[in-house]
């Protein structure tokens, strides 16, 4: 008998484990939340893990999900067992091929971590909208509800597809299952082998295209036969339910785990039944069991094979006693008469009634409802609400549960106090910072406890929407029985708060059960001071709930043990020491064993440091005595300032406080439109260290302001008379310009919005004469200066904004006076992209339209609750939107088409109404030059006058003109995204838009990987760099998109790196914008995915240029008018070898540690590539202008 191996993994790994073993080819592309499956497949292949036939599957990353499906189709048609992994928009892109694959009766399984679709907004979280959208493709839909099921059904699907010849989508809930860590019994290879029939595999191969026995497939068909041909597949679909059930039965024989197409749980004589699929089924079953134990008669039908839905199996599963049924679905299909499974069930029962095959005497009442969209919680209380609804005489149909729908009143009332968590289970919640390692430590704890045969363990992790200073909440359960609770911990008997200031931000103790243990990292205070430092409401909650409180100054312990800010091991040790999950000594021993296992390869020193940290933790952990009464007078701070706009106060602030679930439908915009300029209300205060300006040393160059990724460094000049009302601590200096004795200068740092990245200090060129290393801006502790600086910022904001017409746009020094209209984003601290976005907003923000490809920039730009896109003092600012990942260039071109068309229309109307508006004004408006900022401002003046006059004109054309008149000020259309978009998925769109000749500007922030989805290889990834999907180092070179674009002749192209030459970057932005045609700027963006100290990001940019990896240049077709060479190299010949730049980055360096010979080979080839490319560029730069494509008129 096969020995059962038990392990603790997440749903993605569980599914991929099987998929990898039963396939030969995996075509992959990253998309959340399925990326992990593809990453694991790639990793296993690079490690030489074999499939059940003893061969290593071939894993191929494609340029998009459309590409992945196409390649899968081709591999399947030529006889390979092929799979792919995807979700959401990725699945949408696969649809055309899915029709083909199904139409050709091809055996294949696609594994989907089901996710919401982008509608009024994108969501990375889980529901069934994506899989429901492919119902018509001909793929069967098989659902898993748990980590174990994701593992098992992956195999059942593969066995079934081979026999049925019909392709399958095997899906499970994105995040809730894909990312839940749970204990499962792993399928042994021989068990997998036993499920896969080789004769069916051979039959699959025999159907393949083969020139040795040729045929054609994929014909074009005419009206005479297409219809009949479509009907030929019916028998195959008819056989599917039987085949799947047989596979499930066979699986049960092998593993002992029995599944059915429809599994029934609950009272055999139930009168009320809920039907659902996915992880919610586990909650429903748990709830039904509880209710039945308390005297009710309810049941649950969990759907596994949703499509094709077998009426006979369904009717056989439905208890005859049932009187009312609720079909609840994790999806939404607006405008339909119900969600799809509800309609299927209605149809099945109506057909059964007609046929007289109903299980009971009468037709049950059937209602449908929606729950859990975008990973909205689905709790036992919500499930009970549905059961309760079924008891009503007139239950709501088409209801919602889990939200408050105060518009159409679809929502059910939910009794939040209905909690059925078992006391046998330890339920722990941990509030941590992303950077402090809390989640990693908790995943480790789950492994430690899950490996104990006496325990089952579950973990689920909630992250916020920021990439810097983000809060994580870990939900862990440990108990003696399997844990089937796919919802967040509702009543915690252990709460760990790993950051003291979280107590000010939200109700950390909300879910604490009475008598629970509360572990608090009291840093920066000692545990003895912990109680006194708590806000009054927190003290009161502790007392009311009789919590047992422990404290530790974890940061001090970490620092003392050389672990920097990583407090993970310390807090994990505390948890084990006081939670009582395991006996203390045993737990500590296990932690140390785990440390040794994890870190031995990383050096004895790391192990030793962690061991010491564990021992010192136990010494420093203290119980905090809780008095009878609250002693603190400190109240919780407001979430946002009382000055914030109404929407921010009522809606945004709720989301910020983690109470977005409480917002009713009526509170939210109907079409996804949100106000700009909302990050300013966050004041996240995520950094302990902030830059402090030294006016006496400063040379007012503006470099710090230019590179600040978060827009926290602002400059103004003003008349010294303005200082009369300035706070005492307000810093000021005479402006560094001759002839302006009365003018003062201030560089104001917005400390509360600073992430502490330190780039400003790195770039500052001004140094103290007295103290080496002390600059004009230096990092220092925030706390001592915060109060003064708040007042200073308040005063600074009262100083008038600089007239844009007076600013020198051509220098870095001048640009610092343009207020950023992109501020305080949640990007990674020290982000290499955001300085470019911010610069864009400064230069053209008041007439800027931004089309933003999905990726990092769309997330830090538009992930709720707030947006950094801001508004200037005149109320103008960038208009921003994100359509999709793949279509951004086309989307942005659409902006231009509107601008061009409406401008044309406006000009037509102006001419038509010239007599009534005034010939002179019309003439000026039509012929105004709009090159410099002064020109633009003059045109704005004319516009204001025009609008005044139009309002006086009683002519319908005046109203028409008013609607489009804004276009008379030149619009600046920018298409912004990363290299994953521009080099891969959106490449053809970028190409087409560049070829269009239209006046659009494409900004590619090139991080050389898919940063947002976690660092997967793109075609921009350079040779020799390690990335996900290129774990062994990228073998091919980076695509030269610039040369491609230059080949058109009429495209402005620049390659820039702000860290190497900010002035050239600025010049490129201005030239691109001024050029009346398509422009492409490739901007080197250092990234956390490079494995660098982000503080050194600008230095790396500099080295990237110095070594020739990133030569700076501009190709300006406008120059062709004077017959000069349009290609100008802005950086010199490579001065240093590539490795001097590359080996500062882990993405290159790690290969030296894993495969030094290969690292050397790739580095040598990459160096040669650089040398060759440089010679091409140098040749171009030296050519006679006449050898370039002529200027197109």
């Amino acid at each position: 008998m096969t020995e059962r191996q038990v392990t603790t993994i997440d749903g993605n790994e569980a599914a991929a484990y099987v998929a990898y073993r039963v396939n030969e080819v995996c075509t992959i592309y990253p998309i959340t939340p399925s990326s992990t499956m593809a990453e694991l497949a790639d990793q296993w292949a690079s490690e030489g893990v074999k499939n059940i036939w003893g061969s290593i599957p071939l894993v191929m990353e494609m340029q998009s999900e459309g590409g992945a499906a196409g390649a899968a189709h081709g591999a399947l048609q030529t006889g390979s067992l092929t799979t792919t992994f995807t979700a959401s928009q990725g699945l949408m892109l696969m649809i055309p091929n899915m029709y083909k694959i199904a139409g050709e009766l091809t055996s294949a399984v696609f594994h989907v971590a089901a996710r919401s679709l982008a509608t009024q907004g994108l969501s990375i979280f889980g529901d069934h909208q994506d899989v429901m959208a492919v119902r018509a493709t001909g793929f069967c839909l098989l659902a898993s509800a748990s980590v174990q099921e994701a593992h098992d059904m992956a195999l059942i699907a593969q066995a079934a597809t081979l026999e049925a010849r019909v392709p399958f989508i095997h899906f499970f809930d994105g995040f809730r299952t894909s990312h839940e860590v749970n204990k499962l019994t792993l399928l042994a290879d021989d068990e997998i082998r036993a499920m896969i029939r080789d004769d069916l595999v051979l039959a699959h191969r025999a159907r393949a295209l083969n020139p040795d026995r040729p045929f054609i497939r994929g014909t074009a068909q005419n009206p005479d036969v297409y219809f009949q041909s479509r009907e030929t597949v019916n028998p195959f679909y008819a056989r599917v339910p039987g085949i799947v059930q047989a596979a499930m039965d066979k699986f049960a024989g092998i593993t002992g785990r029995q599944y059915n197409l429809f599994d029934y749980f609950g009272d055999p004589l139930a009168e009320r039944v809920i039907i659902l699929m996915g992880s919610g089924a586990e909650t429903a079953c748990e709830t039904a069991e509880y209710l039945n134990q308390h005297g009710e008669r309810v049941g649950v039908i969990q759907v596994h094979l949703y499509q094709p839905l077998s009426a006979s199996h369904f009717l056989a599963t439905l208890p005859a006693s049932v009187k009312s049924i609720a079909v609840i679905e994790r999806t939404k299909e607006p405008g339909t008469s119900g969600e799809p499974m509800y309609l299927e069930v209605v149809n099945t029962l109506v057909e059964a009634q007609t046929a007289g095959t109903l299980p009971g005497a009468t037709m049950p009442r059937i209602i449908g409802g929606r729950y859990g969209l975008s990973s909205k919680e689905f709790t036992p209380a919500m499930c009970k609400a549905v059961f309760d609804e079924l008891s009503k005489e007139r239950p709501k149909n088409h209801f919602t549960v889990g939200i408050n729908d105060d518009v159409m009143h679809t929502s059910l009332e939910v009794d939040a106090s209905f909690i059925i968590e078992s006391d046998k289970v330890v339920r722990a919640m941990f509030y941590g910072l992303g950077a402090d390692g809390t989640v990693g430590a908790n995943k480790n704890s789950i492994k430690i406890i899950g490996d104990d045969p006496e325990f089952y363990a579950q973990g689920y992790f909630v992250y916020d929407s920021k990439k810097s200073g983000s809060q994580t909440v870990s939900h862990l359960r440990f108990g003696p029985d399997p844990i089937r609770a796919p919802y967040l911990v509702q009543s915690a008997n252990f709460i760990g708060c790993h950051q003291f200031n979280f107590l000010d931000r939200g109700d950390v103790l909300k879910n604490a059960t009475p008598g629970a243990v509360f572990l608090l990292n009291t840093s920066p205070h000692e545990p003895e001071e912990g109680w006194d430092r708590l806000p009054r409401p927190v003290q009161e909650e502790i007392i009311a709930k009789k919590l047992k409180v422990y404290g530790i100054n974890a940061e001090k312990v970490a620092l003392d043990n050389g672990m920097g800010t990583r407090i993970n091991t310390i807090m994990q040790t505390c948890f084990f020491a006081i939670s009582g999950v395991l006996p203390r000594d045993k737990a500590i021993e296990k932690i140390k064993y785990s440390i040794k296992k994890s870190y031995t390869r990383k050096g004895e020193e790391v192990v030793r440091k962690n061991f010491e940290a564990v021992d010192n933790t136990l010494i420093n952990l203290r119980e905090i005595k809780v008095p009878d009464r609250a002693t603190s007078t400190r109240e919780l701070p407001l979430v946002v300032s009382a000055n914030a706009p109404e929407f921010v106060q009522n809606v945004t602030a709720m989301m910020m406080a983690g109470r977005g679930d409480e917002l009713p439908v009526s509170a939210l915009p109907v079409d996804g439109t949100y106000p700009s300029a909302t990050t300013q209300w966050e004041k996240r205060n995520i950094s302990t260290f902030v830059p402090i300006w030294e006016p006496d040393i400063c040379i007012q160059c503006g470099n710090c302001s230019m590179v600040c990724p978060h827009g926290v460094i602002r400059s103004k000049f003003y008349n010294e008379a303005s200082l009369e009302t300035a706070p005492k601590a307000f810093k000021t200096a005479p402006i560094d310009a001759r002839g302006f004795p009365d003018i003062r200068y201030t560089l104001q740092v917005y400390l509360e919005d600073c992430t502490g990245c330190g780039l400003c200090v790195e770039v500052c060129p001004a140094k103290s004469k007295e103290q080496s290393g002390h600059k004009a801006i230096n990092m220092a502790l925030k706390e001592p200066v915060l109060e003064n600086e708040r007042a200073n910022i308040g005063f600074f904001e009262t100083l008038p904004e600089i007239d844009r017409g007076r600013v020198d746009f051509s220098t870095v020094r001048g640009v610092q006076f343009l207020p950023p209209l992109f501020e305080f984003s949640g990007a990674c601290a020290g982000c290499g992209e955001t300085p470019y976005v911010k610069l864009l907003s400064q230069l053209f923000g008041d007439r800027l339209l931004v089309a933003n490809a999905t990726g990092c920039s769309s997330i830090y730009g538009g992930n709720l609750p707030t947006t950094p896109w801001a508004v200037n003092s005149e109320g103008r600012g960038p208009a921003w939107s994100n359509s999709l990942f793949e279509d951004n260039a086309e989307f942005g071109l659409g902006f231009r088409l509107t601008a061009d068309k409406h401008l044309e229309y406006a000009r037509e109307l102006l001419k038509a109404l010239a007599g009534r508006i005034g010939e002179e004004l019309v003439d000026d408006l039509l012929n105004a030059e709009q090159i410099t900022e002064i020109d633009i401002r003059r045109q704005r003046g004319r516009m204001a006058e025009l609008k005044l006059r139009l309002r006086e004109i009683d002519d319908p054309r005046a109203a028409q003109l008013l609607a489009v008149a804004d276009q008379l000020v030149r619009r600046s259309v920018w298409i912004v995204g990363g290299d994953g978009w521009a080099y891969d998925i959106g490449s053809s769109g970028v190409d087409h838009v560049l070829a269009s000749g239209r006046d659009v500007n494409i900004l590619v922030m090139d991080t050389e990987v898919y940063s947002n989805t976690g660092g997967q290889m793109s075609k921009s990834t350079p040779m020799g760099a390690v990335a996900k999907f290129a774990a062994a180092g990228k073998q091919g070179g980076k695509k030269d998109v610039a040369l491609q674009a230059i080949s058109y002749g009429n495209v402005y192209v620049a390659r820039i790196a702000m860290g190497a030459n900010p002035q050239q970057a600025l010049l490129a932005f201005r030239e691109a914008e001024a050029y009346d045609g398509p422009s492409l700027i490739l901007a080197y963006s250092h990234c956390i995915a490079h494995g660098i100290n982000m503080q050194r990001g600008l230095d790396q940019q500099h080295l990237a240029v110095e070594c020739g990896h990133w030569p700076l240049f501009r190709y300006n077709p406008a120059v062709r008018e004077s017959n000069e060479n349009p290609f100008v190299l802005d950086s010199g010949r490579p001065k240093i070898p590539l490795k001097k730049y590359a080996y500062n980055e882990v993405r290159y360096k790690v290969l030296v540690h894993t495969n030094p010979a290969e690292a050397e080979r790739l580095m040598e080839m990459a160096q040669q590539g650089i040398n060759r490319r440089w010679s091409v560029y140098e040749d171009m730069a030296a050519r006679d202008g006449g050898t370039f494509v002529p200027k197109f008129k």
């Binding site: 992303g434 390692g437 992250y463 990439k467 390869r601 940063s1011 790690v1150």
Partner: protein
């Protein structure tokens, strides 16, 4: 003509050894040194501090930004089998030792007692014929006494000697109050060779950036004076072999060192400047000089100008100073 010499108990074909440098950073590099005629190679140094730093840096950077944002829970592929410890160095040592016939000597710069011992043992296991302890320590702490510094050197040598069976050399700095006493103590602690003297990092200032800048210049021929003095003084008084390093740019410096009493003469700067093949020039030059001056063997030359063999032994002590000043006057004043 017999050019052979014995250094650290090893019989060498001639006294010219390639000292620790980037030239021995690869197997091919070591092979090139052998092909050019080096009689032994001291590999570039394994720096314990560097290993610790690399380990901590990789650990930090591999985890930076992870588990913070739902879409990007990590940024680099899951790589468990990377080696940050001494494996790369030991592998080079092992493969170099196998690839060449000349002795390959490991060079070790530790910072902890356990580091010195552990890495020395690993080097022995990897096939090193000897270990050179590159003790590199700047006592910038004003409370550290000279005695404590000396003790530290001696303890390291004792500890390493107790843990390996291959010969152990110590590369010394010249900054001891009493070099003689110090070398004697190291000799007593078991050192099999003393290499005089280390040219270690002395930072420079970058006036452009107003920063302290790491900088290591190549040696010049006139730098041989200090080692020459002490080799001449120590010759014949210690059990340990004497290695000379610094300032070897022509065969003349080799001859001088040998006459002072060196058992082996090490060079790097000349090779970095002139290429590895310059080793052949040095060896041939040594032989030519000996032929021209009718020396039969290195053994004959060795120590011939040492303190114990020169006519006026005080010439190496204070008199030497006086003589220098006197000679400065010139012949016609």
């Amino acid at each position: 003509m017999d050019l052979t010499t014995t250094y650290m108990g090893m019989k060498l074909k001639h006294p010219i050894v390639a000292s620790s440098s980037p030239l021995s950073g690869s197997v091919a590099g070591v092979k090139r040194l052998e092909d050019a005629g080096a009689s032994a190679v001291v590999l570039f140094s394994l720096f314990e501090e560097q290993l610790k730093h690399d380990s901590a840096a990789l650990e930090y950077l591999m985890n930076a930004g992870t588990e913070s944002f739902a879409e990007s829970l990590s940024y680099l592929p899951e790589i468990d089998d990377y080696t940050v410890g001494p494996d790369t160095y030991l592998d080079l040592l092992r493969r170099s030792s196998e690839a060449v016939d000349i002795p390959v000597i490991g060079s070790l710069n530790g910072i902890t007692n356990s580091g010195w011992i552990e890495y020395a043992q690993l080097m022995q296991q990897a096939g090193a014929k000897g270990i050179e302890l590159n003790i590199y320590y700047i006592p910038a702490d004003l409370t550290t006494s000279g005695r404590a510094v000396e003790e530290r050197y001696i303890e390291i040598v004792k500890a390493v000697k107790a843990s390996v069976t291959i010969p152990v050399a110590v590369k010394l700095s010249p900054f001891f109050s009493a070099i003689g006493s110090m070398t004697k103590a190291l000799d007593d602690a078991g050192a099999d060779a003393l290499v005089l003297f280390n040219r270690f990092y002395q930072p420079d200032f970058d006036l452009e950036k107003l920063e302290v800048a790491p900088n290591l210049n190549l040696s010049t021929a006139d730098e041989i004076r200090l080692p020459l003095l002490w080799i001449a003084v120590l010759y014949g008084k210690l059990r340990a072999s004497l290695g000379a390093t610094r300032g070897v740019h022509t065969p003349i410096e080799i001859v001088k060192y040998l006459m002072a009493g060196a058992d082996a003469v090490m060079t790097t700067s000349a090779l970095l400047k002139n290429g590895v093949d310059y080793l052949t020039t040095l060896r041939n030059g040594l032989q030519a000089w000996m032929e021209m001056n009718q020396y039969q063997s290195v053994a004959q030359m060795k120590g011939s100008m040492s303190q114990q063999n020169v006519a006026d032994p005080t010439a190496f002590e204070r008199a030497n100073y006086i003589k220098t000043l006197e000679s400065y006057k010139g012949d016609y004043i």
